[in-house]
Symmetry: C2
Subunit: 439 residues, 2 copies
């Protein structure tokens, strides 16, 4: 059997998990890949700390186990990139800096296969990375970049080649889902649920990237590139986080037979991709509504095989590492002869606001008889079919109720709201809350 030698750059949570699995499952990995898969070198600024986390041998770390300066680390990284005895580089440094981008690109240019969990850099700078891998006839593995342990990348790339992905809808951020689950299950408001998530270790001290939808957006961008071959610009995605979801929204959702989830949504129609990351009301009949806590779930609606759900752990050291190791085995098994780079076409990204969805609109209004009639009439006049109207919550001076519509566009809804304002200028208190419904 031929050797297949690995170097790990960045040995934090995920990198150390990769090292552990490579050492623990050696026989299995050799058997499955038909190669002698060997972890040769690790570069990390803090070898001792890293070695302790999974009891890794210090002698694998460059620099005799001593802490490294950034310059020293860079020197070792460059040695590895130029080492003809290394076949594959695991990039688990993270971040979108030029420093990391250069490491990835230089590795590919030096003929190394690269496996990474770095969703941010793939979402934001994927085009040049994909192209460089292709130009240099090497493999780029990124199963771990979307939903940690869930094998969704390979599912789209290898398992559904006899089919076509029509629609993607997924819960791709565990932190947001944990917070929304706690709000629903325990009646907490957003800030209490966020604190709980931080205490439980599911949210960072600065939770912005998770709760703003940014992290989920990175993953959706990668799935869109893969499923539709669309070279979309991550920055063009319509991304809205969960910060504005209130307890009351969950009550209205529940009355409509739904819960609220942060949904990554994409659908290709002709040469356009409709996509967004935003809170949606998900019908209880849809499995996505049943996924609670930090779990991830991806739903694919395929042309021939219908709906698929993939549910599993979206993060974690060994969970994410297991996906990286699977990519390593796959690359070794096929001797790097994997045609895994999708050609990216310039497809137009459209916000799914321009797309027909059923919507739930929650109105806060003055409270006097005839309001429901006025509001629903304006909606009907804009050719929007109404599905359900909620109970009216009568507060002291105002009333609050929800209208769930049949599929329509945001353009129609905005027009209906303008019509209501024209007919009764003081009727609406604040902006109606509009949230798409996922069946």
């Amino acid at each position: 059997m031929k050797n297949f030698n690995i170097a790990i750059l960045g040995c934090g949570t995920v990198g150390s998990g990769v090292a552990k699995i490579l050492l623990d499952l050696k026989d299995q990995l050799n058997d499955k890949s038909d190669h002698v898969v060997e972890l040769k070198k690790i570069v990390d600024l803090f070898p001792k700390k890293s070695a302790e986390s999974y009891n890794l041998p210090l002698n694998l770390f460059c620099g005799s186990g001593n802490d490294l300066t950034k310059d020293e680390a860079t020197k070792y990284v460059n040695e590895i990139i130029n080492d003809t005895n290394i076949h594959l580089i695991v990039e688990t440094i993270g971040g979108t800096s030029d420093y990391v981008l250069d490491i990835i690109l230089n590795s590919l240019r030096a003929g190394k296969h690269v496996v990474t969990a770095n969703k941010a850099i793939l979402a934001e700078k994927g085009k040049i990375i994909f192209q460089t891998a292709k130009d240099n006839h090497v493999c780029l593995g990124y199963e771990a970049s979307v939903c940690g342990a869930i094998p969704i990348i390979k599912a789209i790339r290898e398992n559904f080649t006899g089919d076509q992905v029509i629609e993607i809808s997924g819960i791709l951020n565990g932190t947001s889902n944990y917070i929304l689950s706690k709000m629903q299950e325990e009646g907490l408001n957003f800030s209490s649920a966020l604190k709980m998530a931080q205490k439980a270790g599911y949210a960072e001290a600065d939770p912005t990237l998770d709760i703003s939808g940014g992290d989920a957006g990175h993953k959706l961008a990668i799935l869109i590139k893969l499923a539709y071959g669309a070279d979309i610009d991550y920055k063009e995605l319509l991304i809205e986080g969960i910060q504005k979801v209130e307890k009351e929204d969950l009550d209205f959702a529940n009355e409509m037979g739904c819960t609220i989830k942060l949904i990554c949504y994409a659908r290709k129609i002709d040469n356009k991709v409709f996509a967004s990351v935003k809170p949606m009301m998900v019908k209880y009949e849809n499995f996505l509504s049943k996924v609670s806590g930090a779990t991830n779930c991806v739903e694919l609606l395929n042309k021939y095989s219908g709906k698929h759900y993939f549910i599993g752990k979206g993060a974690g050291s060994l969970e994410t590492a297991s996906s990286i190791v699977a990519d390593i085995v796959f690359t070794a098994k096929y001797d790097g002869k994997i045609k895994n780079i999708t050609d990216l076409a310039d497809l137009e990204i459209q916000s799914s606001d321009n797309f027909e969805f059923p919507y739930n609109i929650t109105f806060t209004t003055e409270d006097y008889p005839g309001i429901t009639g006025l509001v629903t009439t304006a909606i009907g006049e804009n050719k929007i079919n109404i599905d359900t109207v909620s109970h009216n919550r009568h507060n002291k001076k105002s009333a609050e109720f929800s209208v769930a519509t049949m599929p329509c566009t945001m353009v129609q809804i905005k027009k209906a709201i303008a019509d209501i304002r024209a007919k009764a200028p003081s009727l609406l208190i604040g902006e109606p809350k509009i949230i798409p419904i996922l069946n």
Copy 2:
């Protein structure tokens, strides 16, 4: 690009779906496989009928579109096997006859790759088929044989190579799940629900293979071979169908926070595989409990990546065909250089009865004070921890109640029942119903 030519043997529900996708997605398949994938020939006894089902061109069928005798069909099959211009044969004839086995083996020996949806023949005669494929350095694709559209074969074979499957538990038979769902949701008894399933097209006129657990057992046997490399004998599996599940069992299950599902279960411990197909009470917290109707779901518990659920369509023409086409593309893409034959070791299969599970035991007893105490004392004396005792259903002359235990073995339970009989010989009416609980 090189040519990659296909012949389909048997063009019924699934075969005609394969033909349709091969014709419809030609460009995509060529692009994804880097070959010109071409459907060259179809052999079916009734070409006209088959061609009509998906509007297939009659000229693809051997015999100028005329109905064939079996001898004529055999002649065409042999021509295809000996045709050096055919690279891959799709076997969608079905059944476990020597006739079909010979076709598969002769195709492999002639250097053809074979893709099949035939779960029965793989479960019962898999060893020789796997070995023949290996000896002849050709590929055997069988994604479609387990859960139609769900890519569970490739998930185990390619996606979880950096991990180890500890436990498999799945709903692998749509007919049984449809019946149990109807019993639960609509309060039907078994025979009414079965009739409903037949009417809806989910159950055959002779539903034996489905409701007896046989079909599910075939699929479990294949998953065990693959996940554990265990050359198990399908006939050694403990298989119990759903025929004895009664409405009352579902009531007790519901009181214990469970529903009843036909569960295919396997777990490897040291050199033994514990496995069974039987109705189990599934806790509502487990996703398997939420899978209703004819949908399939496979749960894998992995060493590093934890729990995964794969949910999707388990049957259907295009659904199953899409998996076959994915196998074709994969085989073409890697020029048949796929190392996909698992070496099978002789592992011992143990009934999961010898394995610790929580169990639910439903007792029908005489009805007088003190019975619960007597029964639960006998259970406790056998070192079985009790989790919950249900409400007692008082009928005219008898009482009925359930005891849910903490994990224990069937040996302990049988001893407890014998002890109860020894203490109060007439107390128990009939045999207690014992059903394992899946958390």
